[in-house]
């Protein structure tokens, strides 16, 4: 199963940077080396077994943009599953940015009217912290307006913090087949082993694709923080030419395990009952593998 994802927006906006961090293990610092993307760069990312993401990173220089809406229009805008439009929050030419965005929407409406649309207000780290909220709300309402009759979801992002993972996790969530079935199985599993919380990560990206929370938690941003934390650690392992495999962390109030669940997913189990030993939890995770593997296979067969 192949799904086409379009990445568009002004040159220098940060498209290639985000793609490289999420899918190619770049660190935020590494992105400073990236040059402008020439024309369209396609890449394929294996994602959850049979699902293959076909990313179209469309270079944003004006000459290319004009071309996308003219000669290349059919080729680019047909069969699009997801459109990600990146706005550089520091751009001085909002009107022009919006103009291109609207041209893009017209083409989408014409060729792939079912596509899900995401707008990322990017480089938010450059905006003073106390202004981020209001600026984002302002941009969001403008974008919601100009997007009509299509619907768009807006996120604020920066490659320098966890907001990146929040946005991309939501995007990817749209692409995961049988999300509901996955959630149900996860809940079942959590009940059996009495976990506070279980998260399911896509293996390559460590984005959260499903979760089950049985005990309320004060931090609503924890999922993207965890993606960020683990990705950072994975990067530092790769310096030693070793790769991260599994993890157990605990103190006197919790124990947390990250283990491979299926060939394409990691699971994270959080338990606060100190009387449950590590061995038991690890064994439970091992036993759950079959169930999840079967679920994944069934999905990809359909």
């Amino acid at each position: 199963m192949r799904k086409k994802v379009l990445l568009m927006g002004k040159s220098g906006g940060g498209k290639t940077s985000m793609r490289s961090i999420i899918f190619a293990n770049y660190s935020a610092k590494d992105t400073r080396r990236l040059g402008a993307t020439m024309d369209v760069e396609q890449s394929y990312v294996r994602f959850l077994g049979n699902l293959i993401l076909n990313l179209w990173d469309c270079g944003g220089q004006e000459a290319f943009m004009e071309c996308y809406f003219a000669a290349q229009k059919d080729n680019i805008f047909k069969n699009v599953e997801v459109l990600i439009y990146v706005f550089d929050v520091q751009s001085q030419e909002l009107d022009k940015d919006l103009h291109y965005y609207q041209s893009c929407l017209e083409s989408i409406l014409q060729h792939s009217s079912q596509a899900k649309i995401f707008c990322l207000i990017h480089k938010m780290d450059l905006v003073p912290e106390d202004m981020r909220e209001s600026l984002f709300n302002e941009r969001q309402s403008i974008l919601t307006n100009v997007s009509k009759p299509l619907q768009c979801s807006c996120f604020r992002t920066s490659i320098w913090d966890e907001t990146l993972y929040k946005a991309w996790s939501q995007i990817v969530y749209q692409l995961v087949p049988n999300v509901k079935g996955l959630e149900k199985t996860l809940t079942n599993f959590a009940d059996i082993i009495d976990a506070d919380e279980i998260l399911l990560f896509e293996k390559a990206t460590f984005l959260v694709i499903s979760h089950c929370t049985r005990k309320p938690h004060r931090d609503a941003r924890r999922f993207e923080k965890i993606s960020d934390i683990i990705k950072q650690f994975k990067l530092s392992c790769s310096k030693l030419t070793a790769a991260f495999q599994s993890m157990e962390v605990r103190n006197s109030t919790f124990a947390c395990f990250i283990e491979l669940l299926t060939p394409n997913t990691y699971v994270m189990v959080v338990i606060s009952d100190p009387s449950i030993s590590s061995e038991v939890t690890l064994m439970n995770i091992r036993n759950a593998r079959k169930v999840f593997e079967k679920l994944e296979k069934d999905v990809s067969r359909n």
């Binding site: 923080k225 683990i230 650690f233 991260f244 103190n251």
Partner: protein
């Protein structure tokens, strides 16, 4: 006075004097290591035009004072020639000695040198460093006279912008300049670290090390670790304990880390590389970050925890109390001590007269003793609330490697690197680590008691 005796005792806490010219990166280094500031945020730090004393008391072992010299004063260094260091021994002559002012108050400097175990000197490698080296040389000369045991750790700093060759070239150049300008007036100093000739043993021997550092990677943490390791009197003993753990538990490498600062206070005696060191640092980050999300003690838990502590191993318990007592008294004592120093010098403590240096016309040497404002800051990072007696972690990597972390006390974590096979006997490792933990805590307790009863006061490094 018992308190001051205990705290003066280098057997417990090495004292480091961190100094260097204005904008060399002193404040940034402190902020990054001790208050977790993001390196990129340091560009917004303002340089203070005051003489600043900063008292850091982090973890159980790292305690140092930072003397920051306002840059304006260096203007008066132009009239110097190399040899003025040894001439003025009489306190009365200090007031009109420009050199004194350049160094940031001769009297203070002598005091600080007398009491410190190491001087960490920061040189900005991206800048013209000749003036900085001049100042360094003066300090070394003074130090040699006042306190020959001092180690000099030269941080060739901000090397992140330099190529590999430029780094080596800069290091060689600075090395030579320090040697030439310094060796000449004194004569006959031929013992240069990293491998000082032990045959040449005498008070003439000066220990100087060079480190290439930057706050944008782990090099600053590693360099600081090396400085600390050489100063911790328990280091040899700790190293032996870690070696023993290695041999009994099939472990490849072991580090003892101060969790708060990510300074490694001891390692086993096998050679370590910076990548391993970095990975250990990142493991601490991982542990603390995850614990902050899921392992925050709730109100009830805090109570329960402290109750638990009481019926735990007696060593652990006592150590904690000792630390607390030590910290607070340390803190108090330092304030008193500084008061003494500066009252003699007529310098205000926590003074708010920020105008003094800035307003003094450049032609007149500012008179340190009467006009400066001195800021005394005390940074006493509390131990992380989520790092507790049950903190531990195991991480498996591909290629059969694994990392193992265990809490030793509120401030210290043991990190081991081992083969995954060794983990099949994790119970054995757990047991051995518990024994190690007891030995380490005993070791520090012993030292504490010894210092308390005034035994062995000045014998560190021997």
């Amino acid at each position: 006075n018992q308190t001051s005796n205990r705290n003066m005792n280098p057997f417990i806490r090495p004292r480091i004097l961190l100094t260097g010219l204005r904008r060399s990166g002193k404040t940034s280094i402190q902020r990054v290591i001790f208050t977790k500031m993001q390196p990129s945020q340091t560009q917004f730090l303002e340089s203070t035009p005051h003489l600043t004393l900063n008292q850091f008391s982090c973890g159980s072992f790292i305690n140092f004072q930072v003397q920051e010299l306002p840059g304006q004063l260096t203007l008066f260094s132009s009239g110097l020639s190399g040899g003025s260091g040894g001439n003025h021994v009489q306190p009365s002559s200090y007031d009109d000695d420009t050199m004194t002012n350049v160094i940031g108050g001769n009297y203070d400097l002598e005091r600080l040198l007398k009491r410190c175990n190491a001087v960490v000197y920061i040189i900005d490698a991206q800048d013209d460093y000749s003036e900085s080296i001049l100042r360094l040389n003066t300090i070394i000369q003074k130090g040699r006279r006042i306190n020959p045991r001092i180690r000099y750790e030269i941080f060739i700093h901000k090397v992140d912008q330099l190529s590999e060759e430029a780094k080596i070239e800069t290091q060689r150049d600075i090395h030579n300049q320090v040697r030439d300008r310094f060796a000449d007036p004194i004569g006959g100093i031929d013992s240069w670290s990293p491998t000082p000739h032990t045959s040449n043993s005498s008070s003439q021997e000066i220990l100087i090390n060079f480190h290439l550092t930057s706050i944008f990677d782990h090099s600053i943490f590693e360099a600081f670790s090396k400085v600390i390791q050489k100063l911790i009197p328990q280091f040899a003993h700790l190293e032996r304990l870690l070696n023993y753990l290695l041999s009994t538990s099939n472990i490849e490498q072991a580090f003892l880390f101060d969790v708060q600062t990510k300074i490694s206070i001891a390692t086993d005696s096998s050679p370590t590389d910076i990548q391993m060191y970095e990975l250990c640092c990142d493991m601490i980050d991982l542990l603390i970050n995850m614990s902050e999300i899921y392992g925050q003690p709730s109100e009830n838990n805090i109570r329960r925890l402290s109750d638990d502590d009481e019926d735990e191993d007696e060593y652990v318990n006592e150590e904690d109390e000792n630390n607390q007592g030590d910290n607070s008294e340390q803190h108090e004592w330092n304030l008193v001590a500084q008061n003494d120093d500066y009252n003699e010098n007529n310098v205000q403590i926590n003074g708010s007269r920020k105008d003094s240096y800035l307003n003094s016309p450049l032609g007149t040497p500012p008179v340190m003793n009467h006009q400066s404002s001195t800021l005394l800051e005390t940074t006493n990072e509390p131990a992380s609330a989520v790092f507790d007696s049950m903190s531990s972690s195991v991480i498996k990597l591909t290629g059969g490697r694994a990392l193992y972390l265990k809490e030793i006390n509120r401030h210290l974590a043991l990190i081991c690197i081992l083969r995954e096979e060794a983990l099949t006997k994790q119970a054995l490792i757990d047991y051995n680590v518990r024994q190690l933990k007891k030995s380490i805590i005993k070791l520090f307790r012993l030292n504490y008691q010894m210092s308390r009863s005034h035994v062995s006061s000045s014998t560190m490094l021997d």
